[in-house]
Amino acid sequence: MESNFEQPTYRPKIKQTPLHEAQPVQALPEKSIRLDLDDDKNSGVSLWLWALGLGVLSILSFSVFHAIQTIDSYFNTYPILSSFLGLGLGAFILAIALLIYKEVKGYLDVSQFVDSKVDLKALETLGDRHSTLNKLQNHASLVSKSSYASRCFRQFESAINSDLSNHEIIGLYQSKVAEPILKKAEEVLKKESFVSGGLAFISPNTLIQTLLFAWISVRTLKRIARVFGLRPGITGNWKLIRVAAENMAAQSFFDLATDEITNQIGSSLAAKFMENSAEAVAAGALNIRLGKALIQLLNEAKHG
């Protein structure tokens, strides 16, 4: 029987061209990076050790040199020794110069980090995934490569694929970078505040307590800044130091108040215990205030 219906024919809307190459092999996705590793504890300390070591060496060398000069004041007589001493001194000066450079850079990094705010809401409104990624990458380039923040960002970067929309990229940034960093910073702050309270409780007198408090305040600032990928050095940022100074003033005022209360109620062991407990609570609370101010300052830079 004859067919009533013709085989339908269609114009193909694709054009195929054979290539003279093999299909590339795809790589497995990156493995999830462990975020719970300790921060870059060693990277700053080693330079300090070098400086200290070289300093001690130089002092020793000069002392020896001086001793030798005393015995024999003729330099030409001991050319090798004098050269060695000169080298030591040179290295010491170099290390000191590097330290100064690190401090200046740390200070500038904090300012630059805070100034380069990434406004996620604005990025979301613009809706352009390309510029969002560029902005986030620029911001990430300011953080220390071995920091927690950098690891979070690498995690985020490895999860990005061409399929994700601008909104999803921003959501992913929040969940993979902004939120974990904030959580980690809060964890660090909690730990430091406990230490601060503990030190205030056991410190025998006000001077030691103030010194310990100053030390723990600076340590808190540094540790939180490192979570965000910053290395503010000792000087850090004026804003951070100001908060620390305010804290120390508040702690001293609190010391005076608790001392006076203790005088009023007598100097029994129970009174001393109460005084120390109150100071410990105050020290912890002030440390939390310090940390929160810093987190707010740095976190604003993330969320705009």
């Binding site: 029987m1 067919s3 009533n4 219906f5 013709e6 085989q7 339908p8 024919t9 269609y10 114009r11 193909p12 809307k13 694709i14 054009k15 195929q16 061209t17 054979p18 290539l19 190459e21 093999a22 299909q23 590339p24 092999v25 795809q26 790589a27 497995l28 996705p29 990156e30 493995k31 999830s32 990076i33 975020l35 995690q155 490895s158 999860a159 990005i160 694929n161 061409s162 399929d163 994700l164 999803e168 959501g171 992913l172 969940s175 993979k176």
Partner: protein, 458 residues
């Protein structure tokens, strides 16, 4: 006496066990019963294979995949396990992986599989983590052949209604081309003869031949699809039926009409009704997989028919959002969340994905109309269970390896955003992609699964 005591203690023990399991269910288990509905060749098997492989490598090897799946954070996943739901077969994941290793696509589903995927997460709540150190997210999946799904609308029809509508479909494009031999056969056949086993088998086999030919030609609405696969629980060889010409169905005394009506009722009562009761009732979420390429590969008419099929299918399922009392106490279940998913999205360039999503929304229009008066959440997704293609030179091109091991660059014209914007005489021939040797990274680099499952878990 001892026996009585033993029986009582066993009963008491099993009661305690079931009580403990119930408590577990309430406190630490979050169960999602998901029905995966997809027509034949919609990519169900590959989707399951990919999902399980990706979750396994994500939880055991820490690969950073499924980044948008925030409800299952990679750092809190302790492990996962796969087991069969009672009275169902376990999904043959090992066989599918073996097929992929041999550079063959997994075999299509030809029987019912029911399996439970349990993912154990560390509890992070400050108090909860001490009381209940972990929680479990449980997915219960039912996978069944797409051919069975297309049969479900038959439940609402009598034999003569079904026969007349099937006949009408065969007379229109695109089926009309494939139905020519079958129509020729029915014109020549004498339906006044008394049917016997041989003549019934002859008619049913001829109709099956038409169904098979149409299936190969990309036709989606083929009933009864259960006759096409061996895993169906109905003996079509002895109790088969086929649509009859109108002159036969209109004559109620015709012996063929009587025999086929009886067999049709048997098919509904023995096969379709129990299948619907046991397999489709328990789900609270639904993924509807749609292979748009099957339609794009053929013609606009094929896509139109796909739209019609989906619309008919949505009448089969019970949709709604029962409240807590109704759900927990009265055990009423209904599908409250639906994801329409276009699979194999790696077969088009990245630049064409918005168009494909728009086309998907257009195709599901009829099905979505059924949700209008109910509180049903739905959304549309593009998914590639395996990223088998690579980007091409231009933004509208991609590359793939064909079955002859040639690496091909394909330049695409714009994919239509709706049925209206597609010309009748144009199509997008499907790409005969070979399973890549590096299938594992390509599965782990698949797209859209995280977005889909995050939506279902929210």
């Amino acid at each position: 006496m001892k026996n009585i005591l033993r029986t009582v203690s066993e009963q008491f023990g099993s009661l305690l066990d079931s009580g403990a399991n119930k408590l577990d269910d309430w406190f630490i288990k979050d169960v999602h019963k998901i029905a995966i509905t997809g027509l034949s060749r919609s990519g169900k098997s590959m989707l399951f294979t990919s999902l399980m492989t990706t979750l396994k490598y994500r939880s055991e090897e820490n690969y950073n995949c499924l980044p948008l799946l925030k409800s299952l954070p990679i750092e809190f996943v302790e492990g996962m396990k796969l087991d069969a739901i009672e009275s169902y077969e376990l999904f043959p994941i090992k066989d599918h992986i073996q097929s992929l290793e041999n550079q063959r696509w997994p075999k299509p589903t030809e029987q019912l599989y029911g399996f439970r995927l349990t993912i154990r997460l560390k509890e992070t709540g400050s108090i909860k983590k001490y009381l209940l150190p972990h929680k479990e997210i449980v997915f219960e999946f039912l996978d069944y052949p797409g051919e069975w799904i297309t049969d479900m609308p038959m439940l609402n029809k009598t034999f003569s209604q079904w026969s007349d509508s099937a006949w009408a479909q065969q007379m229109t494009e695109p089926q009309s081309y494939y139905a020519q031999e079958w129509h020729h056969f029915t014109r020549a056949f004498n339906f006044d003869l008394v049917p016997d086993d041989d003549s019934i088998a002859c008619v049913v086999n001829e109709y099956r031949h038409y169904l098979k030919k149409s299936k190969a030609g990309g036709i989606s609405l083929l009933q009864p699809g259960s006759f096409l696969i061996s895993g169906s629980g109905f003996d079509w060889e002895h109790h088969g039926f086929a649509p009859l010409p109108t002159k036969v169905t209109s004559d109620l005394s015709n012996p063929w009409n009587k025999v086929f009506s009886n067999n049709y009722q048997l098919f509904l009562n023995q096969w379709l009704k129990p299948l619907k009761e046991n397999s489709f009732k328990e789900s609270d979420k639904q993924i509807i997989l749609i292979d748009l390429f099957e339609g794009l590969n053929h013609s606009k008419l094929h896509l139109q028919q796909l739209k019609e099929t989906l619309s008919n299918l949505s009448e089969t399922f019970v949709y709604g959002n029962p409240n807590w009392f109704s759900k927990t106490v009265l055990r009423n279940t209904a599908i409250g969340k639906v994801a329409f998913v276009a699979t194999k999205s790696d077969l088009i360039p990245e630049s064409q994905k918005p168009q494909l999503l728009s086309l998907l929304q257009d195709i599901t229009e009829g099905a979505r109309a059924k949700f209008e008066e109910k509180d049903i959440e739905f959304d549309h997704f593009l998914v590639s269970a395996i990223q088998a293609t690579d980007p091409g030179l231009s933004k509208n091109s991609l590359r793939y390896t064909n079955l002859q091991d040639e690496y091909i660059e394909v330049e695409f014209e714009d994919i239509p955003t709706s049925l209206k914007s597609m010309n009748r005489d144009e199509n997008f021939p499907v790409l005969p992609v070979k399973v890549p040797k590096d299938f594992l990274p390509r599965i782990l680099n698949g797209r859209g699964m995280d977005r889909l499952f995050q939506y279902l878990l929210e």
